[in-house]
């Protein structure tokens, strides 16, 4: 029997992927604001870090204008793998639980 390592997609990660695919790219604080309380400040970066490790998203530091002060934020983007995983999980949910529309 071949062992396949199918990526898992918990609800929080699914929500983040949906938001990122809808908007293209978002900062952590924007994700929290758009999640209607589902994501929390501080720990949202734990989830984002986990998703980046899985390859679902990528991030880069915000480009700071010359002379700007303060810490740079991180901007998060969905990856093609993340998009495929979201589509696959949505299809699987539809197939297994047709009464629950994703």
């Amino acid at each position: 029997m071949t062992n396949y390592s199918i990526p898992s997609l918990p609800p929080k990660e699914r929500l983040i992927l949906e938001l990122l695919l809808a908007r293209g790219s978002l900062f952590g604080l924007q994700l929290v604001a758009l999640s209607d309380g589902a994501l929390k400040r501080g720990t949202v970066y734990v989830t984002l870090g986990r998703m980046e490790t899985k390859g679902f998203i990528r991030s880069e530091q915000e480009a700071m204008p010359p002379g700007a002060i303060g810490l740079p934020r991180r901007l998060y983007y969905p990856t093609p793998l993340g998009e495929r995983v979201l589509v696959a999980w949505s299809q699987m949910a539809l197939a297994l639980l047709p009464e629950v529309q994703p």
């Binding site: 900062f27 952590g28 400040r41």
Partner: protein, 270 residues
């Protein structure tokens, strides 16, 4: 730099430098502090908004502090604990739990508890700094979370066991050094020394082989129980005798049924 032109959150950044390693800082902490600064700048002169931003920023930092032991890059990111901490109420629960624990032990132990916790935190920071500067060194024994836990346990059982705690700690240290020295001189497949052990609070996960190290471990455990609970000494001794008889019987039974195979935990055949 004066207090007037200091950036908000600068102290937290310095604190984060002491407490977190670089990957953890750049992935988890700095973005959270950047959010804090962004909210403060957006609040402008509105006192209420500034206050809210301060509270949110410090709460997010406190939550990260509590979650840090579970989210460092070396730990499994998808572990149940990590999932719990990042859950809907996980971070808040941890914060409340920590405060409740402190409030509970403060009346019991007075300022002693505060001093011990302060000492533990200082020790944890020192260990973290040492770990950062010596990344190739074995870090299992100097894990800051484990150290904090050990200090907290030390404080919790002090009133019950008094100086026995110190004796037990000293005995444990001597035994740990003896085990390490023996393992270093007698490397074996059964007691792996090359793999960096994870910081675990699970005695069953500690690799103890059927060698002199395992024997020392068992003897130490028996002595600890005998010293701590002298009332049950006869029960413990009887258990040792019954356990030894059972082990001997098991050894003989396995020896009679395994031809040419060396039992994995055999002391006699090594």
């Amino acid at each position: 730099m004066t207090a007037l032109n200091r950036q908000p959150g600068e102290r937290l950044v310095k604190l984060a430098t002491l407490l977190f390693d670089e990957p953890t800082r750049s992935i988890f902490v700095i973005p959270a502090l950047a959010d804090y600064q962004m909210e403060l700048s957006e609040a402008d002169a509105n006192t209420f908004k500034r206050l809210t931003a301060h509270v949110r920023g410090y709460a997010a930092f406190a939550r990260l502090l509590l979650a840090a032991p579970f989210i460092v890059p070396s730990s499994p990111m998808g572990s149940p604990v990590s999932t719990f901490v990042t859950g809907k109420y996980g971070g808040n629960l941890l914060l409340v739990l920590a405060l409740a624990l402190f409030a509970a032990i403060r009346p019991l132990f007075g300022w002693f508890a505060v001093a011990v916790i302060g000492l533990g935190i200082a020790l944890a920071i020192a260990l973290r700094l040492w770990n950062n500067r010596h990344p190739s060194a074995r870090g299992g024994a100097a894990d800051p979370l484990l150290t904090l836990l050990a200090v907290a346990l030390f404080a919790a059982i002090w009133s019950m066991f008094g100086w026995f705690v110190l004796a037990a700690v000293a005995g444990g240290l001597v035994m740990a050094i003896a085990l390490r020295r023996w393992n270093t001189r007698h490397p074996s497949q059964l007691a792996p020394t090359s793999r960096r052990p994870d910081a675990e609070i699970n005695l069953s996960s500690i690799p103890v082989a059927g060698d002199i190290g395992g024997l020392l471990f068992v003897i130490g455990a028996i002595i600890t129980v005998l010293l701590g609970l002298p009332d049950i000494r006869w029960f413990v001794l009887a258990s040792v005798v019954v356990g030894a008889v059972l082990a001997g019987g098991l050894f003989l039974w396995r020896s009679s049924r395994t031809s040419g195979l060396v039992p994995a935990n055999s002391i006699l055949r090594r």
